[in-house]
Symmetry: C2
DNA sequence: GTTATTGCTGACCAAAAAGACAAGTTCAAA
DNA sequence: TTTGAACTTGTCTTTTTGGTCAGCAATAAC
């Protein structure tokens, strides 16, 4: 693919910066209010621009929403490729996978929430993307896990539901953080909470795999 | 508490029925669209009454929404009391807990989704209830698990995060059912899927507890 | 049968919000 | 410095939606 070299004028730099700021702002508002509850005006206010200017950059709400969703999903798909490098044990691969997923919950809680809202709502804007992008990766990853099982490298577990469980257990630290904050009597989850969470989840998963050594 | 005996007229019976139908309808719409995205008109349409009549029964949207939420939470709190009967092993108690939670995901997917939307959005209408009702139960249950650990009945796991993981892993079968349907190439999760899911989740949790026999 | 209560509906209103449009402003290239 | 393009804003229209209100209809009480 040919990348058109764009001259970096003052304007184009501003444009990029402002677009990024808008996307971050939209993420915050969509995460809290969902698609329908978020007004362009509210997003503009967070981004500190006028509604009209927001519309200039993203001509309508649906488009903006889809951009936010797609950004999040692209990050996930990139970071969560289940790559088996030479010499990696299944244990290490899965351990790394849990770690990465947990990082994403910590670093992108808002994007994660937008995604969650969307899926819970029946994914009206996302279904096709799931089929075309997520499903192939899922099937590949499931196949790999099943091959580990058949080679006796890990315990005989349900591969599909292993993924569902890992996703749920990690994603919950983004989506349901408020519930945990209430139950743990904290104003927000800090570094330590995430570390403890990752340790706990990793240990659960490792035991499920029948790993011998747990540390 | 004195229960006022209400005469069961034809009207009052209809009222109860219609109220229940409205609540079920509201649950469906709120689950799909969230609070802001759900219009009273849409709820009325599902319940097959006029918007004005809906407002006659539930004078405003917030009230209706809170009723739906409260109904769901009351069911949860009732079904998920972590009761230790005489002779129950920790293993059995937790096994039953997972089973109950899974049942709730299967039987009340819509209520579960409404709850999820609410928590993800920062629980604007629910925070107080969480503090007053859920937190005490959580703390009691955590305490019990910790006592099991100190008695050496189960492995030394992180009690708080054990609950977070169980909740996430079970709730996901209600909230994220669409994602699974896409990935498993099904139009809806059936009895078998839930059975398989429960088996998988139960096994994960049992292994995490360090249970000797797994079946 | 008459009256009072409960249940229901149509006509409306006010607020919110998406987005169109036109006009003005800033900036970069010639 | 001029010119055209990129950027920004104020005004207006239309649609949606939560909710009111007055009145009609069905039912229960007497």
């Amino acid at each position: 693919m040919v990348v058109k070299k764009q001259k970096q004028t003052k304007q184009s730099i501003n444009r990029q910066e402002l677009e990024a700021r808008i996307l971050r702002s939209a993420e915050i508002v969509f995460a809290e209010k969902g698609y329908n509850g978020s007004s362009m005006e509210a997003i503009a206010a967070v981004a500190k621009i006028s509604k009209q200017n927001l519309i200039y950059y993203f001509s309508n709400k649906e488009l903006l929403y889809k951009r936010v969703l797609k950004e999040m999903l692209d990050i996930w798909i990139e970071k969560l490729s289940f790559l088996e490098k030479d010499g990696d044990t299944p244990e290490l691969v899965i351990r790394r996978y849990v770690h990465e997923k947990m990082q994403l919950s910590r670093l992108y809680p808002n994007g994660s929430k937008v995604f969650a809202h969307e899926i819970i709502s029946g994914a009206p804007m996302l279904k096709d993307y799931l089929v075309s992008h997520l499903k192939p990766q899922f099937e590949r990853d499931v196949k790999l896990v099943k091959s580990w099982i058949s080679k006796g490298l890990i315990a005989d577990i349900d591969a599909e539901h292993l993924f569902f469980t890992i996703w749920a257990a990690t994603q919950t630290y983004a989506d349901f953080s408020l519930q945990m904050e209430v139950l743990l009597a904290k104003t927000s989850l800090d570094e330590d909470d995430f570390e403890r969470a990752e340790l706990a989840v990793t240990e659960f998963v490792m035991r499920a795999l029948g790993a011998k050594k747990i540390n």
